[in-house]
């Protein structure tokens, strides 16, 4: 990891130590620019994501996705702690296979 990046993570870890969320969770939330799914960093809860055209699906089970979308283009299990981020108007799904992981994405407020 480059030194500046390492420093950023160390600072975040030190300052927000008490904010660390432990225990099992899979959280999906949406805001007016897109949708985010994230689960706990040791994957105590399941989380599956899928794409079909310009749709992004996130669920705790693949069966749930297939009930809504019988033939998804791509189904994957995100790694523990790695968020899946879909943004309206962007084809890219951050955290999807072959796309950039969230750690490599720099956001600027649109």
């Amino acid at each position: 990891m480059p030194p500046e990046e390492r420093r950023l993570y160390t600072v975040l870890r030190q300052v927000y130590a008490s904010a660390l969320v432990n225990g099992p969770f899979a959280i999906i939330f949406a805001h007016n620019e897109g949708m985010v799914g994230v689960n706990d960093r040791i994957k105590l809860r399941p989380m599956v994501a899928a794409r079909k055209d310009d749709f992004l699906y996130i669920s705790s089970e693949e069966a749930g996705i297939r009930a809504m979308c019988p033939g998804p283009d791509l189904v994957w299990s995100p790694r523990a702690g790695d968020p899946v981020i879909g943004r309206l108007g962007h084809d890219e799904v951050i955290g999807a296979p072959g796309e950039r992981p969230a750690a490599e994405v720099t956001y600027a407020r649109s």
Binding site: P2, E4, E5, R7, L8, V11, L12, Q14, V15, Y16, A17, S18, L20, N22, G23, P24, R41, I42, L44, T106, A108
Partner: protein
């Protein structure tokens, strides 16, 4: 309140104190009253092969050779060194079973102390921590565990983080875009002390303990990635290689303090008080100030090393602030500054002042904390338990919104990883261990540290005794202890469903009290067992 004890054997085993020889001492020519020995020494004469090792091993000259080993029971302190080193295992040291009429109020300890004071008119001295049967709050706190709704974690399979940073933290982190298009932290961090596991070694100076003992502790700190503390005795050449893991102490005598010393360590500690003797200074008699000690402490050979009771340039929080910033200036703001205080009644308000004075860490020393020497009456009756002090200080700093400005180190009676976990759950960032580290070196808690005759080579400067500790071996024993406690802490965190120790800090919801009074529970901020979330 101490429980009343009728058990004579237990009363006999309790610490018996010596007398100081200070200016207030009375008529020394008074004929001493009979005071029964604390221990009796016996050996199996049939098994004894007359090697005389026990005679050589005893630092108190209890044993002599008169065609066989002959004990002077009155000198035996019950340290069991002779027993431990006897090749035939034929020695037994046991509490003197002599029976005095039991008395619920007048324990034998009280009676003996009165007899001794009538003999000499002196202040009674002792070593190590408060040994009186006050309620131990740690023993009335139980930790939570996960069942069904929140899975527990196996520390052998999942990562477990014990890394701890001690020092000031900013309220928030500001992030900016770097020239390379990557994010970076704009916020600059204050210097922090990084520990691989939330354990430090308590301050124990060269002088109070032997150099071999101090070097063992320093080497263990370096090996475990934690910190040791010089105490008020300067930094000896032998332990300088481990200075990068040292907290260098600046106490009321200012012994061995100079710019190089302040800059040599990983952090600087201002010692205001000590749990074993709140409000009391230190006194290393001139006879113990050898050439080596004198050079380390920067005082003349043979002169008494007196640490005054207060720091004479600190009579207020404003004065403390001046010293904190003088040290920060001297170290170019590269070292976190810690302030150590004894846990006393008004500890929360004092701690708040210390944080506002600019300290990066507060070291709270509970009334069970150890010492090389203290008046018995002070050790046994002043101060408050560390469990209470940590809880009220953490609560107060949170209420005032300044908890992020300083880390809390809890010390004074941390006996196990369970005590450590409970102290952290009550609000500590890390714990410091002194007595436990000395136990790892062989200490048996005979409490005779102040005599300087420790047969285990820990609390003595006699080269014949200090060479009994090989720092290479001693450091491994102490490092083993740190490793064992860290592994146990991981097990506890796993059971709690946590995978980082900072998630336990101040998490009183994970504690429950057993048989604690409502008032104590309220002060601790802990619910009684049986009450759910």
């Amino acid at each position: 309140m101490p429980e009343v004890r009728l058990d004579t054997e237990e009363a006999l085993a309790e610490g018996e104190a010596e007398i100081t020889s200070d200016r207030r001492a009375g008529h020394s020519e008074v004929l001493p009253l009979y005071s029964p020995p604390e221990f009796t020494w016996t050996n199996d004469v049939d098994k004894c092969r007359r090697c005389k090792r026990c005679i050589m091993q005893c630092g108190w000259k209890t044993l002599s050779w008169q065609d066989r080993v002959v004990p002077d029971h009155s000198k035996c302190v019950g340290c069991h060194r002779c027993e431990a080193t006897c090749p035939e295992q034929c020695i037994t040291v046991r509490p003197n079973a002599q029976h005095f009429k039991p008395h619920a109020l007048w324990s034998l300890g009280h009676r003996k102390n009165v007899w001794r004071q009538a003999d000499t008119g002196g202040v009674l001295l002792t070593g190590m921590g408060n040994d009186q049967p006050y309620e131990v709050i740690f023993d009335h706190l139980v930790l939570d565990a996960c069942q069904v709704t929140n899975p527990s974690i196996d520390p052998l399979r999942e990562p477990m983080e014990l890394r701890t940073y001690l020092g000031k933290k900013p309220e928030s982190v500001e992030v900016e875009m770097g020239p390379d298009g990557n994010l970076r932290a704009r916020t600059r961090l204050e210097p922090n002390l990084e520990l691989a596991t939330p354990i430090l070694f308590a301050p124990m100076s060269y002088g109070s303990i032997s150099l071999t003992a101090q070097k063992s502790i320093a080497m263990a700190a370096a090996e475990c990635g934690i910190a040791w503390n010089t105490g008020e005795g300067g930094l000896h050449e032998e332990v300088k290689p481990y200075a990068d893991r040292a907290i260098v102490q600046c106490a009321s005598g200012r012994f061995g303090v100079h710019a190089g010393y302040l800059n040599a360590g990983a952090a600087v500690e201002i010692k205001i008080g000590q749990g074993a003797k709140p409000g009391i200074g230190g006194h290393l008699p001139g006879e113990k100030v050898s050439l080596d000690v004198s050079q380390t402490r920067m005082i003349p050979v043979g002169s008494d090393a007196i640490s005054p009771a207060p720091q004479h340039d600190i009579y207020s929080i404003e004065d403390l602030r001046q010293l904190i910033y003088a040290i920060k200036e001297a170290t170019q703001y590269t070292k976190p500054v810690c302030v150590k205080i004894a846990a006393v009644h008004n500890v929360a308000a004092i701690a708040s002042g210390i944080v506002r004075a600019g300290a990066d860490m507060i070291y709270l020393d509970g009334f069970r904390g150890g010492t090389g020497a203290a008046p018995t009456v002070i050790r046994d009756h002043l101060g408050i338990p560390i469990e209470i002090a940590v809880a009220v200080v953490d609560q107060r700093l949170r209420e005032e919104g300044i908890r992020n400005q300083a880390s809390i180190i809890a010390a004074g009676g941390i006996r196990s990883s369970a005590d450590m976990a409970k102290a952290i759950a009550l609000g500590a960032d890390a714990v410091a261990i002194g007595t436990a580290a000395l136990l790892a070196l062989g200490c048996t808690l005979c409490q005779k540290c102040y005599t300087g005759r420790c047969s285990w080579g820990i609390c003595t400067q006699d080269p014949e005794l200090t060479r009994r500790i090989d720092p290479r071996v001693g450091s491994q024993r102490i490092a083993n202890l740190v490793r064992a406690w860290s592994a146990e802490l991981e097990e506890i965190l796993g059971a709690l469903g946590l995978n980082a120790v900072e998630s336990l800090r101040g998490s009183r919801e994970r504690l429950r009290g057993l048989d604690l009074h409502a008032g104590t529970l309220e002060v601790l901020g802990v619910k009684p067992a049986g009450v759910g979330a």
